[in-house]
């Protein structure tokens, strides 16, 4: 029986010839992309390999010939730039719109005034030089006139994961992180959404890369993103979707 099973599964795997997709994914989309990849693998039998880094790093890697088939950015600027430079086939499409939250663990009656709680020594945010959630946080602070007042308390994480870590370990008392990071993990009373009118929407773009050897599978994956269960999954993970 066991022998039969092994032989038949061998035959099956030869028959379907599973192919591999290499996908570069921005750090903030890590959890969600793993779930999407898992269900894609289950439904199609093709393997998906995810590589996580900051969007700036992936950008430089793709410029220098990194073997990715698809690139999920944390913004639309970097994917668009790659397209302008001729590395992309097709258009940039927005797969998710990220939301910024202010997270202050163990604070009761949290609101935007809590930013000025004298107990706060450090507030972590992503580096605004290159990280989209950092750019959004700075925009919010400038727009509300709070940047100068809080400047000396701000510490920068290299990317949004490190920014989360600083607050998680209590090195920073509070932090500006992505909703996708805290949703389902952190108690809802410990964070507040930053009003979306106070920063440019963090639209996140995905592109198919020209160097791929497997255009069909790439298209299959990109179309898969538009299927209802996946859209629901992305929404549940702390993002909004641009309505067409």
């Amino acid at each position: 029986m066991l022998k039969l099973f092994i032989i038949s599964s061998l035959l099956l795997s030869f028959g379907s010839r599973a192919e591999v997709l290499n996908i570069a994914v921005s750090s903030n989309f890590q959890k969600t992309s793993k779930l999407i990849a898992k269900s894609f693998q289950k439904e199609t039998g093709h393997k998906v390999k995810l590589s996580f880094a900051s969007t700036g790093k992936h950008f430089a890697q793709i410029l220098n010939g990194a073997p990715f088939d698809i690139f999920f950015g944390a913004d639309t600027k970097h994917p668009q730039k790659l397209r302008d430079m001729g590395f992309v086939s097709g258009e940039v499409s927005t797969y998710a719109i990220g939301k910024l939250v202010f997270w202050y663990p163990n604070k009761s009656n949290l609101n935007t005034n809590s930013l000025f709680d004298p107990k706060i020594k450090y507030i972590s945010m992503a580096n605004e030089v290159h990280a989209p959630y950092g750019i959004a946080a700075k925009e919010f602070l400038i727009k509300t006139g709070n940047y100068k007042k809080l400047k000396s308390k701000l510490v920068r994480g290299e990317n949004i994961s490190q920014t989360f870590l600083f607050t998680r370990l209590g090195n920073a008392n509070a932090g500006f992180v992505a909703l996708s990071q805290v949703i389902d993990v952190i108690s809802q009373s410990d964070y507040i959404l930053i009003p979306e009118s106070s920063y440019t929407p963090i639209a996140q773009g995905v592109v198919a890369l020209k160097r791929t050897k497997n255009k069909q599978l790439v298209n299959k994956f990109l179309n898969y993103l538009n299927e209802k269960p996946i859209i629901e999954l992305i929404k549940r993970s702390g993002y909004t979707i641009k309505e067409l």
Binding site: S54, G56, K57, F59, A60, K121, Y122, S124, N127, V129, H130, V155, R156, G157, E158, Q162, L165, F166, L169, G170, N171, A172
Partner: protein, 221 residues
């Protein structure tokens, strides 16, 4: 040019190296002279920063500095500034990170001189203090210099630990390597290039100095 980062990096390397010398000369001498079954264990602990990725070191430091970590609890109990995101935190991180680089050459040179000369000095009636300061340490000087230079250079090149515990604050924790990294991430490749080239030349000169020192010592012997 990022003069602020360059100045901060030099300050960090100088302070760390001085403290490392104060620690590593006695520790190196001790390790060179003891005959204990515990010696391999102690040596292994001291060599750990050599093999651990800087991110591991940085992560554990960050945990230790955090509100539930032992150091974080101590600083909040004493009501003093915490170690994360501060210059003193970087100094502590650098001391741990560069420790084996300073200890190694110092211990080696003590090992090669301590037996013969210090025994002679002691048998001629020299007290331990004189044996140490007039015989052993002067003879180990090339190793001490090499350790200092290596520790200094290694701290200049430190990146992973600083990135984890520093928080990228200009003038406080934003050292040279972090500036370079930021320029690369912001696609400012020409700025990254000029800083990187400077660091490359600096490191090369330091290594030439160390190898030259080794040569001179061997010829002098």
């Amino acid at each position: 040019m990022d003069w602020e980062s360059i100045f901060l990096t030099l300050k960090l390397a100088t302070m760390s190296t001085l403290i490392l010398l104060i620690i590593c000369i006695p520790v190196g001498y001790w390790l060179a002279t003891i005959r204990s079954p515990l010696k391999p264990f102690v040596s292994a602990v001291f060599a750990l920063p050599l093999v651990l990725p800087p991110t591991v070191l940085g992560f554990y430091l960050l945990m230790a500095f955090g509100s539930n970590g032992p150091i974080g609890k101590l600083t909040s109990f004493l009501d003093i500034e915490g170690f994360a995101f501060s210059f003193k935190g970087l100094v502590l991180g650098s001391i741990i990170y560069s420790f084996p680089f300073v200890l190694g050459p110092i211990q080696n040179s003590f090992e090669s001189v301590s037996d013969k000369y210090s025994e002679v000095a002691m048998s001629l009636g020299a007290p331990l203090k004189d044996t140490l300061f007039k015989v052993s340490i002067p003879l180990a000087k090339p190793g001490i210099i090499a350790g200092a230079v290596l520790g200094f250079a290694h701290t200049i090149g430190e990146f992973g630990v600083v990135l984890m515990i520093g928080g990228n604050i200009p003038g406080k924790t934003k050292v040279l390597s972090v500036s370079i990294y930021d320029h690369v991430e912001a696609l400012e490749y020409s700025k990254a290039h000029s800083l990187s080239a400077g660091l490359l030349i600096f490191s090369f000169v330091i290594l030439i100095f160390i190898y030259g020192l080794g040569n001179k010592w061997r010829i002098g012997k």
